[in-house]
């Protein structure tokens, strides 16, 4: 496997003081290939979707690690592998130094309390027939924490107010709430078990600007108050810059660049990252009138038959002949700044 494991050598990165040095999560050489089958009685595999194709990164305690890229690049699949909702094709995932594939059922249940998830769509991720109080209390019930109903209700009320909702909302149903309120419920549910690590998969993408800012601030406050670590998955590059300590950019199942947040945005090195950032408009007509609006050609190819060599070569302005055959490795170009391109 031609993947350099980025985690081990990134100590030189400076991040804010609350971030520890020891990794809470390590992903090594993760691959997730989905088989495409044909036939009804005798199914046979005819192709594979290379959703995640050999990625490595680590996340430190207290850190918010951003995973960005356009739709279909493998962000959600990466999160699902960490949550053990997908059986990885290859590679390992370590949480607190323990390989999670080797846990028995009891240990896995304990792990499931420590790792929680917040989804994009507050509409579809909440059971419409359950009251808000039941939704938030459910993880506690399932894991046998706080079996006492009164204490559970008190905890639900506390979680609601932590998330900026009136405890009276416990008696309402999801359809009686706005999108922003539902997302707060999703956050409350994720916090119910006092997790250490939360995977936020596009948590603010469905929200309007003013509500989005409320939820972003809430996520930041909770991070500081409870010392949470986030894997923050999003396609919105501005939101990611605002929130994350370090950021990895994905393209067709691979990490093409990984760096400390401001470094990545101020000095993008990979041609894909550069094109991605150039495409994002800034809410300032003065600045926009001075920017060069170069657009990247083409569209993302299918992950079923990804291009040979560097998967970005058909769209890359810097591509040379060798890019068709050589798979570029993630190299540390500056301390803590990793790029997968042979030409930079």
């Amino acid at each position: 496997m031609s993947v350099v494991s980025a985690p081990e050598r990134t100590e030189a990165v400076t991040v804010s003081s609350v971030v520890g040095n020891e990794p809470i999560l390590e992903v090594k050489g993760l691959k997730m290939y989905f088989p495409i089958s044909e036939g009804v009685v005798f199914t046979r595999k005819v192709a594979e979707v290379k959703a995640v194709d050999g990625i490595s990164f680590h996340i430190r305690k207290g850190e918010t690690f951003g995973l960005v890229g356009e739709s279909g690049c493998g962000k959600t699949t990466t999160g699902r592998c960490i949550l053990q909702l997908e059986q990885a094709t290859e590679g390992q995932i370590f949480f607190d130094g323990v390989n999670i594939a080797e846990l028995d059922r009891r240990e896995l249940s304990a792990l499931r309390q420590k790792i929680q998830v917040i989804f994009q769509d507050p509409y579809s991720s909440l059971n419409p027939r359950m009251k808000i109080g039941e939704i938030i209390g459910e993880p506690m019930r399932v894991h046998g924490i706080e079996p006492d109903a009164d204490k559970r209700h008190a905890r639900v009320a506390e979680l609601l107010s932590i998330c900026g909702l009136d405890p009276k909302f416990a008696d309402r149903y999801p359809h009686e709430m706005s999108g922003g309120q539902r997302q707060r419920v999703g956050i409350g549910r994720a916090l119910a078990l006092n997790p250490e690590f939360i995977i936020c998969d596009e948590p603010v993408s469905a929200l309007d600007v003013s509500i989005q800012a409320q939820v972003i601030n809430l996520l930041e406050d909770l991070r500081d108050e409870f010392g949470l670590t986030y894997l923050f998955i999003a396609h919105d590059l501005s939101v990611v810059r605002h929130l994350c300590h370090r950021v990895a950019v994905m393209y067709l199942g691979k990490i093409v660049e990984l760096a400390e947040c401001d470094e990545l945005y101020d000095n993008p090195i990979h041609p894909y990252t550069q094109a991605l950032l150039a495409a994002v408009p800034v809410p300032d007509p003065e600045i926009e009138s001075k920017r060069e609006h170069k657009v990247m050609k083409g569209e993302v190819p299918s992950p079923i038959n990804p291009p040979s060599g560097c998967v970005f070569h058909p769209r890359c302005p810097l591509a040379v002949e060798g890019c068709r055959s050589v798979v570029p490795e993630l190299r540390e170009i500056k301390p803590g700044h990793w790029v997968a391109c042979t030409e930079v």
């Binding site: 800012a213 409320q214 601030n217 590059l237 929130l243 300590h245 800034v282 300032d284 926009e288």
Partner: protein, 332 residues
């Protein structure tokens, strides 16, 4: 310059069991030939309904245009017969929607959909229409046009379908294109491709463009003038520079302070607008933004603020519009 389109006090309402939704509540603005106007505002504020009203496409029932005028090159579109308005649609004013799949017919080839409109509106024969279709696809950057025209919509990616919609919108040489969230469903690099294409073509052909979006960046990049909508009304309008550099309505100020920016360092503070937009069936006699407004005074509960000029062609609908420059109270 002569106005191409003038909306005067447009009112569109929906009569539902939950009450009357004042979706568009006294909207006035105008567009000159060849100009690009952005309409921004959060979901439910009436952007789409105001656009659909221009072409009289609001579903009736439950919707009805209950007042106002829509003057297009001097004619009031609200007074045209059904036959006449159908001629305006597609021919003089074209629309591009967020989800092109819903406006394309899945069982007709792309080529047939383009040539059908051409034959209908432009009165040209099949052969001429075929040639024109090839030319149009080339214009919107779809290569291998002859082969692509024989394909069906599902063979096209989201970005390619939107290119087809733009080709169809341009096919009858309209004076105005209304694009309602044309790139909201697309990835950012494809969004940039589509918006650049629309800008180039509309500028080159002198077509005016109304671009409706919730994305403040898109408007900053492409619009000459901006209308900011809130709860069915335009609360502020002006040139893009005025709106972004000297916002004169508390809602606009709030939006700009809420949005994370690509060019701001990590951790730059966001100041959200607290609360949420009002239910459009429950509007009262005061300013609809009042419950979320940190500048509100007594008068704001009693009377709806009129949209008035603050200077240089910039308008704001706010009783305190002249007092907004004082430092805002610190965010809690």
């Amino acid at each position: 310059m002569a106005k191409l389109l003038e909306l005067e006090d447009l009112r569109t309402q929906f009569f539902t069991t939950a009450g009357t939704v004042k979706a568009v509540d006294g909207v006035s603005y105008d567009i000159e030939a060849g100009e690009t106007v952005g309409i921004v505002g959060e979901s439910g504020c009436g952007k789409s309904v105001s656009a659909l009203s221009i072409l009289r496409l609001v579903p009736d029932p439950p919707g009805k245009i209950v007042g106002g005028k829509i003057l297009f090159m001097g004619r009031n579109l609200l007074e045209l017969s059904d036959v006449e308005i159908r001629k305006v649609r597609g021919h003089e004013i074209a629309m591009v929607f967020q989800e092109p799949m819903t406006s394309l017919n899945p069982v007709l080839t792309i080529g047939r959909q383009i040539t059908e409109t051409l034959e209908q509106h432009m009165g040209i024969d099949r052969q001429e229409a075929d040639a024109r279709a090839v030319e149009l696809l080339g214009m919107v950057g779809i290569s291998d046009a002859e082969r692509r025209l024989k394909q069906y919509p599902h063979h096209f990616s989201g970005g390619m379908r939107q290119r087809v919609m733009i080709a169809m919108a341009l096919s009858c040489e309209p004076k105005l294109i209304i694009a309602d969230e044309p790139t909201t469903a697309l990835d950012v690099t494809i969004q940039a491709q589509i918006l650049e294409l629309m800008k180039d073509l509309t500028r080159r052909l002198g077509v005016a463009l109304i671009i409706i979006t919730h994305n403040l960046g898109v408007v900053a990049r492409y619009a000459d003038k901006v209308n900011v909508m809130y709860a069915g009304k335009i609360v502020e309008k002006g040139s893009a520079r005025q709106i972004y550099h000297n916002p004169s309505h508390p809602y606009t100020i709030g939006l700009l302070a809420s949005v994370p920016r690509l060019d701001h360092k990590r951790g730059t503070k966001l100041v959200p607008i607290e609360g949420q937009p009002p239910d459009l069936t429950l509007l009262d006699q005061g300013c609809a933004f009042r419950p979320r407004c940190r500048f509100a005074e007594d008068i704001c509960t009693r009377e709806i603020p009129p949209l008035e000029e603050v200077g240089g062609g910039q308008y704001s609908a706010c009783w305190q519009k002249d007092k907004l420059s004082q430092p805002a109270p610190a965010a809690s």
